[in-house]
Symmetry: C2
Subunit: 340 residues, 2 copies
């Protein structure tokens, strides 16, 4: 027996599904800029396991916390942490208001582009530069300075804005995780406010999911005007053990996925790995001198030594940038499949 | 001309809508435990203004940040902050491991229920009690202690679990805001970890949206086991100016709605009110000696004095608990409409 109405309704449904197909096709395969291989496979295997409601490893959406280091993990960090380059540029921009800097280290070295003299000022010099460029202003003013620099400054090697030097494969991973109801966080040594100036636009990570190094601030209310001033006193150094500490303080849940690239991420990975249930811990290994930079055990920036040993001994995912990533930056042409 | 298929499809649509009606009815009028009046009206008027996409006051969902004090705003705070009552109970629970407490203040006073001697130990005594009960253990252990106490302890006046002594009208407000894509935060003087032990279950506020007072913690990794230990060093006192400071540090966006009940909330309200665009700032005024407690300008707990003056002079919403709320606690019988 044939029911013409039912047929017509079925046809309607078919039409609806065919309209939806392009959307589904757009969603496509996750991680298109990753070569097929153990790294890509470990990510997808993990995500499928914790999102399968009938599986033993299922994690409910509210607990799908994923944390990412920023420098060297989501964007490049050579020839120096980009935030340090911002600070050096800020010294130059502010020099006219500080004539004493011409004769005072570390500022003199910055103004004279004297790299050797700058390095000689050591950590004390770096802290003075950060103090002068990151504190003593309102939070609103600092946000303006950071955004202005990010829009104007260009990287010395690529000539690109710094916020273009983000890793396309990691962007795809962030998107993939969010499509699977993960909440993606940055947990990084950079200044929280500096990272917030680009994280939402560049990574799709809102300010409340950016955790970093912070200074003590002071609320002020004068003549009906409210402001928050950044003081020179360090509140939290978000590096090494500071990472699990800030994760606990700010998120209050242990992540089920953590990604870093250096020994400064080791404790965050240990904290993540030590939780109950299935966990993912990954490291970006900078192995691509041609398309990015190659460095690890002896580098001053982003040293990857102890964490690399621990990753190898514990079976953590180590991403070999040269072998695992089809392309590095969004502005790179899509690479064709390479013979490994 | 009549097309029977089209009619049938229309009937199908009508059926679908009728099935959806009970759901719509369930959503119902917002804020049913609030009497009609200026307080309820100011909340609804504000929410409708900032969520109307065609209105001049529209705020996009990502920026709909709402912050609430906890003690005295979301739950009661008499005869003492509930967390202090937890700390006193913890002193008693731990006394067998600390024989020296029998002869040492402030612990001796706690163990002997000597209120006068306890008060005489002053802020120094309170800090010692908090140090002994809130620090020196792992974050996991503290969470266990808080949850155990919350499940077992009973309020001296009502005989109810403390987490039942939450304000039904405020629960409805939290739900209403979330239904309108607000992100609801607690920003309160209590210990962050203590509040997280009940905020998700009781208020529907997840741990990452609970901001409070914090202690410096220390990550430890021994024999493959990771833990975070709470130290005695205060990291942030989330009271008064500490509230806008923590909002800036943790959320990184200025709220568009803030609710408190005491002078300790004044700066959070000032910070919220001073932002651009339409803002809502509210205070719970404890005026109901019969159903809850009545106190304001001279109270040691939850003093509402300067903030009340500022609310009146600036037209902030002041909730008169006795007049504005049909019922106080979820366990109260629903009150009938009262003649004002």
């Amino acid at each position: 027996m044939t029911n013409p109405t039912l047929h017509r309704q079925r046809f309607g449904l078919a039409l609806l599904f065919s309209l939806a197909l392009p959307l589904l096709a757009n969603a496509g395969e996750p991680l298109p800029s990753w070569h097929d291989g153990p790294a890509k496979n470990s990510i997808i295997t993990f995500v499928e396991a914790v999102t399968d409601p009938s599986g033993k490893d299922f994690v409910k959406p509210a607990e799908r916390i994923a944390v990412f280091d920023n420098d060297g993990t989501l964007w490049s960090e050579q020839p120096a942490y980009f935030e340090l380059l911002f600070a050096l540029d800020e010294v130059k921009r502010n020099a006219p208001q500080h004539p004493e800097w011409k004769t005072t280290q570390p500022f003199k070295a910055v103004l004279e582009n004297d790299h050797k003299a700058l390095v000689a000022t050591g950590m004390d010099g770096i802290l003075k530069i950060f103090g002068a460029t990151h504190t003593g202003m309102t939070t609103d003013a600092f946000d303006d300075y950071a955004r202005t620099w990010l829009s104007q400054a260009r990287h010395p090697k690529t000539g690109k804005p710094y916020s273009d030097m983000i890793f396309q494969p990691m962007l795809e991973m962030l998107d993939y995780l969010r499509s699977q109801d993960f909440k993606t966080y940055i947990v990084s040594g950079g200044d929280t406010a500096f990272m917030r100036a680009f994280a939402e636009q560049v990574y799709g990570i809102p300010p409340e999911q950016v955790i970093g190094t912070t200074f003590v601030t002071a609320f002020q209310f004068k003549d009906g005007k409210a402001s928050i001033v950044r003081t020179q006193k360090l509140a939290h150094n978000d590096d090494g053990p500071g990472k699990p500490e800030s994760i606990d303080a700010v998120i209050g849940r242990r992540p089920i996925l953590a990604f870093g690239n250096s020994d400064g991420d080791l404790q965050m990975l240990q904290w993540t790995a030590a939780g109950p249930g299935k966990r993912f811990t990954g490291l970006v290994h900078h192995t691509d001198a041609k398309r990015e930079w190659a460095y690890d055990r002896t580098s001053d920036i982003g040293r990857l030594d102890k964490a690399l040993d621990e990753a190898k001994s514990r079976g953590w995912t180590v991403v070999d940038m040269a072998a695992d990533w089809r392309r590095i930056y969004p502005f790179d042409p899509p690479a064709t499949e390479q013979v490994q």
